[in-house]
């Protein structure tokens, strides 16, 4: 059975989903990609906006969510940390 994701992994999944979509994504797409309910996703998005990892961009048709430079930097740090963990086997 797959392990339950912790808060950190969910944040990583959200940021990765945005990055993989070219840096911008619609909230509904993000909800499916990161496998979260609407309420859960909104609570995470609020936290990420506060940390300046993402920003909401209003467009004509709908609102988009974009990853910021700070968010990309954070993703880079996560990648580095995972390599470190994999190397040591911890």
């Amino acid at each position: 059975m797959p392990k339950k994701r912790d808060r950190f992994q969910i944040v990583e999944d959200i940021l990765l989903s945005i990055q993989n979509k070219g840096g911008q994504i619609k909230p509904t797409h993000l909800m499916y990609k990161s496998n979260l309910s609407y309420t859960q996703m909104n609570s995470y998005l609020e936290e990420l906006v506060e940390k300046e990892f993402i920003q909401k961009i209003p467009r004509k048709s709908s609102e988009y969510i974009a990853i910021t430079d700070r968010g990309l930097e954070f993703l880079g740090k996560i990648r580095e940390m995972k390599e470190f963990e994999k190397t040591f086997g911890i």
Binding site: R7, F8, E80, M81, F84, E85, T87, G89, I90
Partner: protein, 229 residues
């Protein structure tokens, strides 16, 4: 309890202090990375333990430097070792520094082993720690027992890392395993420093090489992570 400190040829006295200092710096660098990862993911306590472990090993080096400086300053009348800066080898402060060098060295290695050996409970950790310290300080000769225990721990860490390498086949893991294997080998040399002064020289060089390889492994990890971006 008897304190015996063996060292290399006279020309090497001081050079070894520099090698130990650079080894301590390498440990501090890796410890800072572990701390940085702990700040990123605080739920993962392994990074905090690794930081503590590496900081203790660096601390052990610093106390060794002070201890050896004291020995050299009391033995050689050289410009590099002004006596005014050193304690007497019989001074309680000297014994304290020596004690800290041994304790931090052993606890640091045990902590590192505890995170690599994932199933170790806190109770087991505390039991091993108590036995290890009792064995070291109740023995007649502290230094050989310290190096035997240190050899056992570094060998166990190296075996663990070779096992990890078997699973992930990553070059940095191989470098890490190699680094700890060389470190374990250096412990054997340190055990026989009383035989000839050149054995101490070989032990120091082996130890320093192991830390250089450790630094190279870290550099490879960082490069690999950057490539993935």
């Amino acid at each position: 309890m008897e304190l015996e400190i063996f060292h290399g040829p006279q020309w090497f006295s001081g050079v070894d202090i520099f090698l130990d200092f650079f080894s301590a710096i390498i440990l501090v660098i890796i410890a800072m990375f572990a701390l940085r990862y702990f700040w990123i993911h605080k739920e993962n306590k392994n990074h905090a333990i690794m930081f503590a472990s590496l900081a203790m090993l660096a601390g052990s080096f610093l106390f060794k430097i002070i201890t050896y400086y004291t020995v050299y300053a009391s033995k050689y009348e050289a410009l590099f070792f002004p006596k005014i800066l050193a304690y007497s080898v019989n001074h309680p402060a000297f014994l304290f520094f020596f004690f800290m060098h041994v304790v931090l060295g052993l606890v640091g290695l045990l902590l590192l082993y505890s995170i690599l050996e994932k199933n170790m409970s806190i109770k087991t950790f505390l039991l091993i720690l108590t036995m290890m310290l009792i064995l070291t300080f109740m023995s007649a000769r502290v230094y050989p027992v310290f190096y035997i225990t240190s050899f056992a721990l570094t060998t166990l860490i190296a075996i663990n890392l070779w096992r990890t390498f078997e699973n992930n086949r990553l070059k940095p893991t191989m470098m890490l395993a190699l680094s700890f294997t060389i470190l374990a080998l250096s412990r054997v040399f340190f055990l026989y420093t009383h035989v000839h002064s050149l054995v101490y020289l070989a032990a120091e060089i082996l130890q320093f090489s192991s830390y250089i390889i450790l630094l190279l492994a870290l550099t490879m990890v960082l490069k690999h992570a950057k490539k993935k971006r």
